[in-house]
């Protein structure tokens, strides 16, 4: 009989361990099950996430212009460091209460929501979106807003309307270092740079890890420009990709002066051109039909005049829509880019990013997405 006591005791102990593990969220559990990384295009935008910090007028003007175009069914989660920032957002951006999801996080944050996490699709119907975030933000020890940014994914997991969980991974990346379409996840050189020798031993191990995490074939753009992927390329869907072209930008700029606020002037080096061309070649080798659009790169900076840093949506009739950055004083470049998108069947809705691009990002960098699907 004492064997029965032992067996019952062990079973009871295991049951308690299992139950407690589930109840506390189980630090020993395997990562949340998730589908692949959300693609840049697909079903209509349903829930977007933006940040606003009081006083950041340049970013707010871009966000306001974008949101004004969104259909009434799309909801907007607004992450703010404090009540004053949220009040300023509500004052400037006209949205009915039912479309606004506030997330006041009570810590400094940057205005750039794209880089904080990447969304993994729910692994099955009815399950939650996973917000995958790095275990540390670059420069967090010197940049208090980045320290706060580190916690945003966890904060969003506590917003019930978003139906998300957050999951931290032992990799260093910005959300903008990754971009997915229906086949691939494109990865910037910074991910290689920041993880070799620490999180992973070599390139092959990194690729395996990325494949496991993101559920799509990773394409490491290690010959590309030193910036986030969405600054120099965009997969448009239907096997077509768009890549920036500094030479085309310079040609269209002609004799006009470079934008006054492009730090350091325009980078016209052969080395920078080669980096954009390398991305185009890589995409062609993967079977994409590649189109080029003008771009201007700030010399020695990360300020890009870019037309690939877009948000894509689709309306109820199936018409594809692109929200594309445009810049005052660069009408020839704007028009060339507009023509390129339109030629691929997109309805182009321009968003003025003149006052924001010198900070290193434009529209796509300011908007993240937790949900696409039927409205």
């Amino acid at each position: 009989m004492r064997y029965v006591n032992a067996i019952l005791g062990v079973m009871l102990g295991l049951a308690i361990v299992w139950g407690v593990g589930r109840w506390v969220g189980s630090p020993h559990a395997s990562p949340s099950p998730a589908g692949p990384m959300m693609a840049e295009f697909g079903p209509p935008l349903r829930t977007i996430v933006v940040h606003h910090v009081a006083g950041s007028d340049a970013t707010l003007s871009v966000i306001r212009a974008f949101i004004s175009h969104l259909p009434a069914e799309a909801r907007v989660c607004v992450v703010c460091p404090d009540d004053a920032s949220f009040a300023e957002f509500r004052e400037v951006v006209a949205l009915p209460d039912e479309r606004v999801i506030p997330a006041i996080v009570n810590q400094p944050i940057t205005p750039w929501s794209r880089d904080r996490w990447v969304a993994l699709l729910p692994h099955e119907r009815g399950s939650r979106t996973v917000l995958l975030h790095p275990f540390e933000e670059a420069a967090a020890d010197a940049w208090p807003a980045r320290r706060g940014d580190q916690r945003v994914a966890g904060d969003l997991a506590n917003v019930p309307q978003l139906n998300c969980v957050s999951q931290m991974v032992e990799l260093r990346f910005d959300g903008g270092d990754l971009m997915a379409d229906d086949r691939h996840v494109f990865v910037s050189r910074a991910v290689l740079e920041r993880n070799i020798g620490s999180a992973v031993q070599d390139r092959d191990e990194l690729l395996d890890r990325l494949r496991d995490l993101f559920g799509r074939t990773p394409v490491l753009l290690d010959d590309g420009p030193d910036h986030h992927v969405g600054m120099y390329m965009m997969s448009m869907g239907q096997g077509v990709a768009l890549v920036g072209d500094p030479a085309m930008g310079l040609e269209l700029l002609g004799r006009a002066a470079a934008p006054m606020d492009l730090p350091g002037g325009v980078d016209a080096s052969a080395e920078m051109q080669a980096r954009f061309d390398a991305v185009a070649q890589r995409l062609k080798a993967l079977g994409y039909r590649v189109r080029r659009v003008p771009t201007l790169v700030g010399a020695g900076s990360k300020a890009y005049v870019t037309y690939v840093n877009v948000m894509m949506d689709v309306d109820a009739a199936g018409q594809r829509i692109v929200y594309m950055p445009v810049y005052r004083g660069l009408e020839d470049l704007n028009q060339a880019a507009r023509d390129t998108w339109a030629a691929e069947g997109f309805e182009v809705r321009p968003i003025d990013c003149t006052d924001v691009y010198q900070h290193g990002g434009t529209l796509h960098c300011l908007v993240n997405v937790t949900g696409r699907g039927a409205r």
Partner: protein, 189 residues
């Protein structure tokens, strides 16, 4: 007691099982979580010529703006042979360009040197490196990389942006700025 279910013994076995589970489970590697604080990051290692190398700021010499950093390069030799090798050490700084910046600047080198280190088989060795340049404000990192064989020119601090990112391993060393005010002031805003 014999021949009957004994709740006391069932409880003892259950407690023992819980205790064993707590002991044998491995350390946390990755976790499904909501709002859990980040873990201590994995330290980088630069593997070169059979040596495993790390570089840190020397103890008792905290990183301060305008001070010349003192570094300690540690190399361990797990092989059965003595190893002598050269390695390039480059210190860089980065800053957010402005309060509203999306990205940190490209790494700006401020001190570069090539050092030689010898480590006996199965042993460790440490080398102290004193920068002759003061640390600027910003996030400071060290890059360890092989000294190119064909490189006959001495190491320089010339900004090499893209080339800088192409080889070696980066070791975050810390920061010489501690708050947003300093960042903004340095960015000239």
């Amino acid at each position: 007691m014999r021949g009957r279910l004994n709740l006391m013994w069932v409880g003892i076995w259950a407690l023992g099982t819980i205790g064993v589970c707590a002991l044998v489970w491995p350390p946390v590697q990755s976790r499904a979580q909501e709002g859990i604080e980040p873990e201590v990051p994995v330290r980088p290692v630069f593997a070169h010529d059979g040596l495993q190398m790390e570089i840190v700021i020397a103890p008792d010499t905290p990183l301060k703006v305008s001070d010349k950093p003192r570094l300690v390069l540690t190399a361990s030799n797990p092989t059965a042979d003595d190893v002598t090798t050269r390695v390039r050490v480059q210190l860089t700084s980065q800053l957010p360009a402005s309060q509203w910046s999306r990205v940190i600047s490209l790494p700006e080198p401020f001190y570069t040197t090539d050092v030689q280190i010898t480590v006996k088989a199965g042993r460790k060795a440490a080398l102290t490196i004193d920068s002759d340049q003061p640390a600027p404000a910003g996030v400071i990192a060290a890059r360890l990389s092989p000294v190119p064989e064909a490189d006959t020119t001495p190491a320089t601090d010339a900004p090499n942006t893209l080339a800088l990112l192409s080889a070696g391993v980066v070791f975050p060393l810390g920061s010489t700025v501690v708050d947003a005010t300093a960042v903004t002031a340095q960015a000239g805003e």
